[in-house]
Every structure is written in structure tokens, then in C-alpha cells.
Symmetry: C2
């Protein structure tokens, strides 16, 4: 079975032979960009509209907060005063929307290689893309690998909200790229990168953490449920030169943040770094 929509169902099956199925409705947008196939379709499900890239699930209206709250608030709440934030990938805008809930933020740079993703999400996924026109946001339709090369000491938080390590996202999983990201962090800065499915993509996960540990003195992992990713479970890498995880919590910003979230709260935040045995063994 091929990934994508066929006979009324969207399927995504991992190389391991299992995955997800969603009752599909009308295709609202489908086009080949310079980089990938970009598609938005309606579903006959609680999930609402769905964005896929190269027939791989990126996000759905119905469960997107599971991902976006986790990639954004876990690092943001561990920085005392995040002012400058870089989001790499993330053209749907969901990560930006969560970042902008923090009043300390003065500027967010979105570096997304594919302008078609941004345009499609603005048009068809407005509840996710709603803050892309915020004046604090600078949108660069550009390859992050090139962009980051000469940026030194510029960002408090960098969020790598990328696709998988194949296709256009491949170069975002290299020692060289991670080194440039590290050098672009300010003192006390934190990078968080999506780090694949611990259950369904064990080899990718393992390889990525070997690379990250070469570059960052502090590398930790946190996980949470993503209902529409195969296996329902996702990991993020928390990386920093000088920040250890869970040493700081921005209590002064907490009340505002928690009120707007469907997942995120302080207990949940603290619990995310407790990992199952198999994942601890995998990443060493």
C-alpha cells in the first residue's frame, strides 16, 4: 500500500509495516513545489484538515497542539527571558503561534525552505497559521543550512520543526548543521529539534543522538503523545551548551501559558524527561 489517499482513506505505513489510516474527504490543495508534494485535505474524522508533505503526515487541525505545545513551551519555559527565537521548518505556523504566547519574545525568525507550505497553510489551515502575519515574525523562504552558517550568538531559542531525515530535511540532521546552530545560540540558549519516533524509527533516532552529542555538551530527550504519527509517540532533543534540562522554570510566565494550552502544564512538563527503558538504551 502506498502512502497517501486511495479509496477514501489516507494511509501512512512505516517501513516496519504498520501505521495510520484516516477517512479522507475533499483534497483542498495538492501541488508539487520545487522541493516536495504539498497537500491539504479534509477528513471525515475528528481530525479536521490535514497537511502532508510527500505523503507523510505533518499536522492535523484536530491534534496539532500535541506537537506544537511540546516543541515550543518545554524549551521556552526553561529560559528566563527568551527574546529572539529561530524556527527552522515549521511553515505551518503552529510552532510560531505557541512561541508568541510568551510576552518576552521580541522577534521570531521563521526559516522555511518551501514557500508553498506557508502559502497553503495560511489559506487552508488558518487556526494553525494564524500568527504568521504577526509583526514580530520575520519569514525567510530560504534553506536553513545556508542561513545559519554565519549567524553567531543571535538566538535564545532555536526550534527545529523539520520533516524527517530524507528529502528536503536531510541536511538538517548533520554534525555541520548542528555545529552552526550551536554557534548561533546566545549564552543560556537552547535548541530543541524534533527527533522522530522512538518506537517506529529507532535507527534514525539513535543516529541523530550520536551526532547531537558530538556537538552539544547537554543533550536530553523528552517525549509526548502525537495521535496521528505512526506509533503515537514522539521525541524531541533538548540541546544546549550551558543549560541542563529542568534546572529552571519560568514561573512568572506560567499562568498565562497554561491557560491557553490543551496539553501543557507544569507537572506534564516535568514528567516529559522520564523515558522508557528501551529509549534510554537506544540513545545511550
Amino acid at each position: 500500500m502506498k502512502n497517501g489517499i486511495e479509496n477514501g482513506y489516507y494511509h501512512e505505513i512505516t517501513p516496519g509495516g504498520f501505521g495510520i489510516a484516516i477517512k479522507a474527504g475533499k483534497v483542498l490543495f495538492s501541488a508539487q513545489s520545487e522541493f516536495q508534494k504539498v497537500e491539504v485535505f479534509e477528513t471525515e474524522s475528528d481530525l479536521g484538515r490535514v497537511l502532508t508533505l510527500d505523503d507523510l503526515m505533518m499536522t492535523t487541525e484536530g491534534d496539532e497542539y500535541h506537537y506544537h505545545e511540546m516543541i515550543a513551551h518545554i524549551p521556552m519555559m526553561q529560559h528566563p527571558h527568551p527574546e529572539t527565537v529561530l524556527v527552522i521548518g515549521g511553515g505551518d505556523g503552529g510552532t510560531i503561534r505557541e512561541v508568541l504566547k510568551h510576552d518576552t519574545v521580541k522577534k521570531v525568525v521563521l526559516c522555511e525552505i518551501d514557500g508553498m507550505v506557508i502559502d497553503a497553510c495560511k489559506k487552508f489551515l488558518p487556526t494553525i497559521a494564524c500568527e504568521l502575519d504577526n509583526p514580530k515574525v520575520e519569514i525567510l523562504v530560504q534553506d536553513a543550512i545556508e542561513y545559519i552558517k554565519d549567524k553567531k550568538n543571535m538566538f535564545d531559542i532555536i526550534l527545529i520543526d523539520s520533516t524527517d531525515p530524507m528529502g528536503p530535511g536531510e541536511g538538517l540532521f548533520t554534525d555541520e548543521f548542528y555545529t552552526n546552530v550551536r554557534n548561533s545560540l546566545k549564552e543560556g540558549g537552547i535548541m530543541v529539534a524534533q527527533s522522530e519516533s522512538p518506537f517506529a524509527q529507532k535507527i534514525s533516532v539513535q543516529k541523530m543522538y550520536v551526532q547531537l552529542k558530538k556537538v552539544f555538551p547537554n543533550v536530553a530527550t523528552y517525549t509526548s503523545n502525537i495521535p496521528t504519527y505512526p506509533g503515537g509517540y514522539w521525541a524531541w532533543a533538548f540541546c544546549s551548551v550551558d543549560v541542563e534540562p529542568l534546572k529552571y522554570f519560568a514561573q512568572d510566565r506560567y499562568e498565562k501559558i497554561v491557560k491557553t494550552c490543551k496539553i501543557y502544564n507544569k507537572d506534564y512538563h516535568m514528567a516529559r524527561f522520564a523515558l522508557p527503558n528501551y529509549l534510554k538504551e537506544l540513545i545511550g
Copy 2:
């Protein structure tokens, strides 16, 4: 699309319109018992063999430990000396296997309504059913609703490892049944019941917790990832007359237990009771 195997794939789609798909192989066993359709099939996937009841996923060889470690060790490790354990449902034997890792246990009663499930699992899922012949196990092929009625003050731990609240499992989700379970617990006893998918079965979850709170003074929820259940996320209800969650941890048994587990460890145990906002709102 109907649940079950068709055109080489097993599908299970929730009423919400999304679910799981697994590349199916040979059907090893398929029969209608007095209560339900019992099926074991091979998959062309990392998941190995699969048990379904009425075309709903029960367990797979490849991810069963996600469920069985969580239903067993979270309550077992919060009892200082669990000697007598009752497992309701759980005919595959996975919960029994985990319970018997605790050397304090003198007797486990398995009360499973459908003998065909036990027989099929013994034959086709030996890595899961491997402890069903342990001399500490008493197997009763019997309706737990009837069994529990006259049992008073008998069990340290009761684990409700049931199907969903429809079909043969329906009567296991009532005030009357929970009251009888409560009365069969000893002092310091704990009941844990599987309590459905917080993301995919919100109404069932909400209804169940209203009932549990009528019967038990202490009702808490813990959650974990189950890769092959729709949404990838599952909840269990931790209920007791006199035990609050996370007040006690059986450190003396810990080293032996953690060594044999793929998921369970102390940090993970402690983190499981931290819930996302939407689930806290759902169960009140």
C-alpha cells in the same frame, strides 16, 4: 472501511474516523466463541503476531509490553506486600506474566469469561501467555461479574484488563461491578482498570470516571503510549479506598523488576500521573 483484515491490511478505525493499519500475513486462528470473534494473525511488520477480539486490537507480540508493564507494575509497586492478585479479563496472559515478577505474590486468580482466548494465546502467543501454567495461577473461565459478587476482603491488587465497554466487557463498566470489586479488596488494596483512549474515546473515559468516583474515595489516572491502539495513548484508573497514588514505592523489589522491563522504571512510574490539560478537564 470495516475493521479487520481486507486486501492484505488489518484496519481499525475509531468512530472518530481515524485509526491504525498493519500489513497482515497469515491468519493462524479465527473462530467465533460463545462471546466474540477470536483471531490471531501474523503480520508482515515489526509487530509480529496480533490478537484481535471482534476485530478490535487487543495486543501484538511487538508492543504488548507497553500495556502489560503499565497495568501491572504501577499498582504492584505501590503496595508494600502484594500477595493475592485478581486479573479480570487478560486471557492473553501478559498481565499475569508481569504480576508474577513480584516475589511477594502467592496467588493470582485469572477470571476470563472466554476460554477460547486463553487457548488461542497459549498456542499462538507463547511469549505473552508463558506464565499461564505457573502453579501460582488459578484460571477461572467465568464471568467476573458473578465471580466477584460474594468475594469480600480477598485481594491486595485487582487488575481489570478488559475489552472496551461494549460486547462481553460491557458489564465491567458499571457502579454495581465497581462496588463489588471495592468490597473484595483487602485493606491497602488497589484496583487498576484499563480506562480507554483519552484522545479517541473521550465520552467513554468521562463516563467511566464519573462511575468510579461514586465508588472509590481515591481515583487517579495514569497514561502511557500504546503504539497499536488508535491515538497511541492509553489511560488506566488507579482506585482505592485507602491508598493515595504515589505515596509508597516498593524500593525493595525495584532492582529485580526494572531489569526485566522494556518500559518501566521509577522515573517513568512517577511521571505517569502527570496528565495533559484536556484529560484533566475530561475526568474532572
